[in-house]
Symmetry: C2
Subunit: 108 residues, 2 copies
Amino acid sequence: MMEKITRDFFLGFIRIHILHHAEKEPIFGQRFSEELGRHGYHISYGTLYPIFHRLEKEGYLVSEKINVGGKIRKYYKITRKGKRMLTEAKQQIRELVDEVLEDSKELK
Amino acid sequence: MMEKITRDFFLGFIRIHILHHAEKEPIFGQRFSEELGRHGYHISYGTLYPIFHRLEKEGYLVSEKINVGGKIRKYYKITRKGKRMLTEAKQQIRELVDEVLEDSKELK
DNA sequence: ATAAGCGATATCGGTATACGATATTGCTTT
DNA sequence: AAAGCAATATCGTATACCGATATCGCTTAT
Protein backbone atom coordinates (compact mmCIF):
# COMPACT_ATOMS: atom_id res chain seq x y z
CA MET A 1 0.00 0.00 0.00
CA MET A 2 1.16 3.45 -0.90
CA GLU A 3 2.17 5.98 1.75
CA LYS A 4 -0.62 8.43 2.43
CA ILE A 5 1.63 11.35 1.66
CA THR A 6 2.55 9.98 -1.73
CA ARG A 7 -1.12 9.27 -2.34
CA ASP A 8 -2.05 12.88 -1.54
CA PHE A 9 0.49 13.93 -4.07
CA PHE A 10 -0.83 11.50 -6.64
CA LEU A 11 -4.37 12.80 -6.17
CA GLY A 12 -3.32 16.42 -6.41
CA PHE A 13 -1.54 15.55 -9.62
CA ILE A 14 -4.29 13.50 -11.22
CA ARG A 15 -5.94 16.33 -13.15
CA ILE A 16 -2.66 17.30 -14.73
CA HIS A 17 -2.03 13.65 -15.46
CA ILE A 18 -5.38 13.35 -17.22
CA LEU A 19 -4.93 16.48 -19.31
CA HIS A 20 -1.43 15.36 -20.25
CA HIS A 21 -2.74 12.08 -21.64
CA ALA A 22 -5.75 13.68 -23.25
CA GLU A 23 -3.36 15.94 -25.12
CA LYS A 24 -1.57 12.96 -26.67
CA GLU A 25 -4.68 11.00 -27.65
CA PRO A 26 -8.36 10.74 -26.77
CA ILE A 27 -8.87 8.83 -23.51
CA PHE A 28 -11.78 7.26 -21.72
CA GLY A 29 -12.29 6.48 -18.05
CA GLN A 30 -11.93 2.76 -17.83
CA ARG A 31 -8.81 2.50 -19.95
CA PHE A 32 -7.18 5.39 -18.15
CA SER A 33 -7.89 3.69 -14.84
CA GLU A 34 -6.42 0.42 -16.11
CA GLU A 35 -3.26 2.11 -17.26
CA LEU A 36 -2.78 3.75 -13.88
CA GLY A 37 -3.28 0.31 -12.37
CA ARG A 38 -0.51 -1.12 -14.52
CA HIS A 39 1.80 1.48 -13.01
CA GLY A 40 0.73 0.59 -9.49
CA TYR A 41 -1.69 3.45 -8.96
CA HIS A 42 -5.37 3.25 -8.28
CA ILE A 43 -8.22 5.71 -8.38
CA SER A 44 -11.85 5.01 -7.65
CA TYR A 45 -14.40 5.47 -10.41
CA GLY A 46 -16.35 7.47 -7.86
CA THR A 47 -13.46 9.91 -7.98
CA LEU A 48 -12.40 9.62 -11.58
CA TYR A 49 -15.67 10.18 -13.41
CA PRO A 50 -16.64 13.34 -11.53
CA ILE A 51 -13.17 14.70 -12.32
CA PHE A 52 -13.74 14.14 -16.03
CA HIS A 53 -17.14 15.82 -15.76
CA ARG A 54 -15.67 18.81 -14.04
CA LEU A 55 -12.80 19.20 -16.48
CA GLU A 56 -15.30 19.13 -19.32
CA LYS A 57 -17.64 21.55 -17.60
CA GLU A 58 -14.76 23.96 -17.13
CA GLY A 59 -13.85 23.69 -20.79
CA TYR A 60 -10.54 21.86 -20.55
CA LEU A 61 -11.82 18.65 -22.08
CA VAL A 62 -14.52 17.83 -24.59
CA SER A 63 -16.15 14.42 -24.90
CA GLU A 64 -17.65 12.31 -27.63
CA LYS A 65 -19.54 9.05 -27.18
CA ILE A 66 -18.30 6.31 -29.45
CA ASN A 67 -19.64 2.83 -29.95
CA VAL A 68 -16.81 0.31 -29.86
CA GLY A 69 -17.87 -3.28 -30.32
CA GLY A 70 -21.35 -2.47 -29.10
CA LYS A 71 -20.16 -0.72 -25.96
CA ILE A 72 -20.34 3.02 -25.43
CA ARG A 73 -17.12 4.74 -24.51
CA LYS A 74 -16.92 8.41 -23.70
CA TYR A 75 -13.73 9.65 -25.25
CA TYR A 76 -12.27 12.89 -23.99
CA LYS A 77 -9.84 15.08 -25.80
CA ILE A 78 -8.16 18.26 -24.69
CA THR A 79 -9.43 21.66 -25.85
CA ARG A 80 -7.41 24.70 -26.82
CA LYS A 81 -8.20 26.17 -23.42
CA GLY A 82 -7.07 22.94 -21.81
CA LYS A 83 -3.75 23.05 -23.67
CA ARG A 84 -3.12 26.58 -22.59
CA MET A 85 -3.86 25.76 -19.00
CA LEU A 86 -1.80 22.59 -19.08
CA THR A 87 1.25 24.36 -20.42
CA GLU A 88 1.02 27.03 -17.78
CA ALA A 89 0.34 24.55 -14.98
CA LYS A 90 3.33 22.44 -16.00
CA GLN A 91 5.62 25.41 -15.72
CA GLN A 92 4.33 26.34 -12.29
CA ILE A 93 4.55 22.75 -11.10
CA ARG A 94 8.06 22.42 -12.37
CA GLU A 95 9.10 25.47 -10.39
CA LEU A 96 7.43 24.14 -7.29
CA VAL A 97 8.87 20.68 -7.62
CA ASP A 98 12.37 21.50 -8.77
CA GLU A 99 13.44 23.15 -5.56
CA VAL A 100 12.16 20.36 -3.37
CA LEU A 101 13.27 17.41 -5.48
CA GLU A 102 16.59 18.93 -6.56
CA ASP A 103 18.65 16.85 -4.18
CA SER A 104 16.96 13.57 -5.04
CA LYS A 105 18.12 13.64 -8.65
CA GLU A 106 21.23 11.58 -8.06
CA LEU A 107 19.13 8.90 -6.39
CA LYS A 108 17.19 8.10 -9.51
CA MET B 1 -5.62 33.98 -8.37
CA MET B 2 -4.10 30.60 -9.01
CA GLU B 3 -5.72 28.06 -11.33
CA LYS B 4 -7.66 25.48 -9.36
CA ILE B 5 -5.69 22.67 -10.94
CA THR B 6 -2.39 24.16 -9.91
CA ARG B 7 -3.83 24.74 -6.46
CA ASP B 8 -4.85 21.08 -6.17
CA PHE B 9 -1.31 20.18 -7.02
CA PHE B 10 0.08 22.62 -4.49
CA LEU B 11 -2.12 21.18 -1.75
CA GLY B 12 -1.24 17.60 -2.60
CA PHE B 13 2.41 18.62 -2.41
CA ILE B 14 2.25 20.60 0.82
CA ARG B 15 3.12 17.73 3.18
CA ILE B 16 6.23 16.92 1.19
CA HIS B 17 7.04 20.60 1.12
CA ILE B 18 6.76 20.80 4.90
CA LEU B 19 8.89 17.73 5.55
CA HIS B 20 11.47 19.00 3.11
CA HIS B 21 11.86 22.24 5.02
CA ALA B 22 11.71 20.56 8.40
CA GLU B 23 14.63 18.44 7.28
CA LYS B 24 16.77 21.52 6.65
CA GLU B 25 15.91 23.35 9.85
CA PRO B 26 13.21 23.44 12.52
CA ILE B 27 10.12 25.27 11.29
CA PHE B 28 7.00 26.71 12.88
CA GLY B 29 3.61 27.41 11.41
CA GLN B 30 3.47 31.14 11.09
CA ARG B 31 6.92 31.54 9.55
CA PHE B 32 6.33 28.69 7.14
CA SER B 33 3.09 30.31 6.04
CA GLU B 34 4.82 33.64 5.55
CA GLU B 35 7.52 32.09 3.41
CA LEU B 36 4.95 30.45 1.19
CA GLY B 37 3.30 33.84 0.90
CA ARG B 38 6.53 35.39 -0.26
CA HIS B 39 6.54 32.87 -3.11
CA GLY B 40 2.97 33.68 -4.01
CA TYR B 41 1.35 30.71 -2.33
CA HIS B 42 -1.16 30.76 0.46
CA ILE B 43 -2.47 28.19 2.88
CA SER B 44 -5.05 28.77 5.60
CA TYR B 45 -4.03 28.22 9.21
CA GLY B 46 -7.14 26.11 9.47
CA THR B 47 -5.47 23.79 7.00
CA LEU B 48 -1.85 24.16 8.02
CA TYR B 49 -2.00 23.49 11.75
CA PRO B 50 -4.00 20.28 11.48
CA ILE B 51 -1.45 19.06 8.93
CA PHE B 52 1.38 19.66 11.38
CA HIS B 53 -0.57 17.83 14.07
CA ARG B 54 -1.15 14.88 11.85
CA LEU B 55 2.45 14.64 10.67
CA GLU B 56 3.54 14.65 14.29
CA LYS B 57 0.94 12.10 15.34
CA GLU B 58 2.14 9.81 12.57
CA GLY B 59 5.72 10.19 13.73
CA TYR B 60 7.19 12.15 10.82
CA LEU B 61 7.70 15.33 12.80
CA VAL B 62 8.38 16.08 16.43
CA SER B 63 7.65 19.42 18.07
CA GLU B 64 9.11 21.50 20.85
CA LYS B 65 7.62 24.66 22.30
CA ILE B 66 10.10 27.48 22.52
CA ASN B 67 9.71 30.90 24.03
CA VAL B 68 11.03 33.53 21.64
CA GLY B 69 10.74 37.09 22.93
CA GLY B 70 7.92 36.10 25.21
CA LYS B 71 5.92 34.35 22.48
CA ILE B 72 5.51 30.61 22.24
CA ARG B 73 6.48 29.03 18.96
CA LYS B 74 6.03 25.36 18.27
CA TYR B 75 9.07 24.28 16.34
CA TYR B 76 8.87 21.10 14.35
CA LYS B 77 11.79 19.03 13.17
CA ILE B 78 11.84 15.90 11.08
CA THR B 79 12.27 12.47 12.70
CA ARG B 80 14.29 9.53 11.42
CA LYS B 81 11.03 7.97 10.26
CA GLY B 82 10.14 11.23 8.54
CA LYS B 83 13.46 11.29 6.70
CA ARG B 84 13.03 7.75 5.49
CA MET B 85 9.56 8.49 4.25
CA LEU B 86 10.58 11.73 2.62
CA THR B 87 13.41 10.13 0.69
CA GLU B 88 11.13 7.41 -0.56
CA ALA B 89 8.31 9.80 -1.41
CA LYS B 90 10.65 12.06 -3.36
CA GLN B 91 11.75 9.19 -5.54
CA GLN B 92 8.19 8.13 -6.27
CA ILE B 93 7.15 11.69 -6.98
CA ARG B 94 10.06 12.20 -9.28
CA GLU B 95 9.05 9.16 -11.30
CA LEU B 96 5.46 10.35 -11.46
CA VAL B 97 6.38 13.86 -12.42
CA ASP B 98 9.22 13.19 -14.83
CA GLU B 99 7.10 11.49 -17.42
CA VAL B 100 4.47 14.19 -17.42
CA LEU B 101 6.72 17.24 -17.20
CA GLU B 102 9.45 15.91 -19.46
CA ASP B 103 8.44 18.03 -22.43
CA SER B 104 8.09 21.24 -20.45
CA LYS B 105 11.78 21.34 -19.53
CA GLU B 106 12.83 23.53 -22.43
CA LEU B 107 10.19 26.09 -21.48
CA LYS B 108 11.79 26.88 -18.15
C1' DA C 1 -39.09 -9.58 -29.62
C1' DT C 2 -37.46 -9.76 -25.16
C1' DA C 3 -34.45 -10.73 -21.68
C1' DA C 4 -29.82 -11.79 -20.26
C1' DG C 5 -25.00 -10.39 -20.56
C1' DC C 6 -21.51 -7.11 -20.49
C1' DG C 7 -18.40 -2.99 -20.96
C1' DA C 8 -18.63 1.33 -19.49
C1' DT C 9 -20.44 5.45 -17.24
C1' DA C 10 -23.01 7.67 -13.42
C1' DT C 11 -24.37 8.47 -8.81
C1' DC C 12 -25.09 7.66 -3.70
C1' DG C 13 -24.11 8.02 1.45
C1' DG C 14 -20.44 8.16 4.59
C1' DT C 15 -16.14 10.10 5.90
C1' DA C 16 -12.28 13.16 5.56
C1' DT C 17 -10.13 17.60 4.24
C1' DA C 18 -9.79 22.82 3.22
C1' DC C 19 -11.26 27.13 4.37
C1' DG C 20 -12.01 31.74 6.77
C1' DA C 21 -13.25 33.21 11.05
C1' DT C 22 -13.04 33.07 15.76
C1' DA C 23 -11.25 31.50 20.18
C1' DT C 24 -7.49 30.32 23.09
C1' DT C 25 -2.74 30.15 24.86
C1' DG C 26 1.13 32.07 27.34
C1' DC C 27 4.12 35.48 28.06
C1' DT C 28 5.23 40.67 28.77
C1' DT C 29 4.28 45.26 29.83
C1' DT C 30 1.66 48.79 32.00
C1' DA D 1 -4.38 42.34 37.23
C1' DA D 2 -5.63 43.48 32.83
C1' DA D 3 -4.34 44.82 28.22
C1' DG D 4 -1.53 43.64 24.24
C1' DC D 5 0.37 40.55 21.09
C1' DA D 6 2.51 36.55 18.46
C1' DA D 7 1.30 32.24 17.69
C1' DT D 8 -1.42 28.11 17.93
C1' DA D 9 -5.93 25.71 18.06
C1' DT D 10 -10.55 24.82 16.80
C1' DC D 11 -15.30 25.51 14.75
C1' DG D 12 -19.03 25.17 11.03
C1' DT D 13 -19.65 24.85 6.33
C1' DA D 14 -18.48 23.32 1.81
C1' DT D 15 -16.23 20.27 -1.16
C1' DA D 16 -13.71 15.90 -2.44
C1' DC D 17 -12.65 10.91 -2.16
C1' DC D 18 -14.19 6.36 -1.68
C1' DG D 19 -16.37 1.68 -2.40
C1' DA D 20 -20.64 0.10 -3.62
C1' DT D 21 -24.52 0.14 -6.30
C1' DA D 22 -27.36 1.65 -10.10
C1' DT D 23 -27.95 2.78 -14.82
C1' DC D 24 -27.00 3.00 -19.79
C1' DG D 25 -26.80 1.13 -24.50
C1' DC D 26 -25.70 -2.23 -27.40
C1' DT D 27 -25.41 -7.41 -28.76
C1' DT D 28 -26.50 -12.12 -28.52
C1' DA D 29 -29.30 -16.03 -27.09
C1' DT D 30 -33.70 -17.92 -26.18
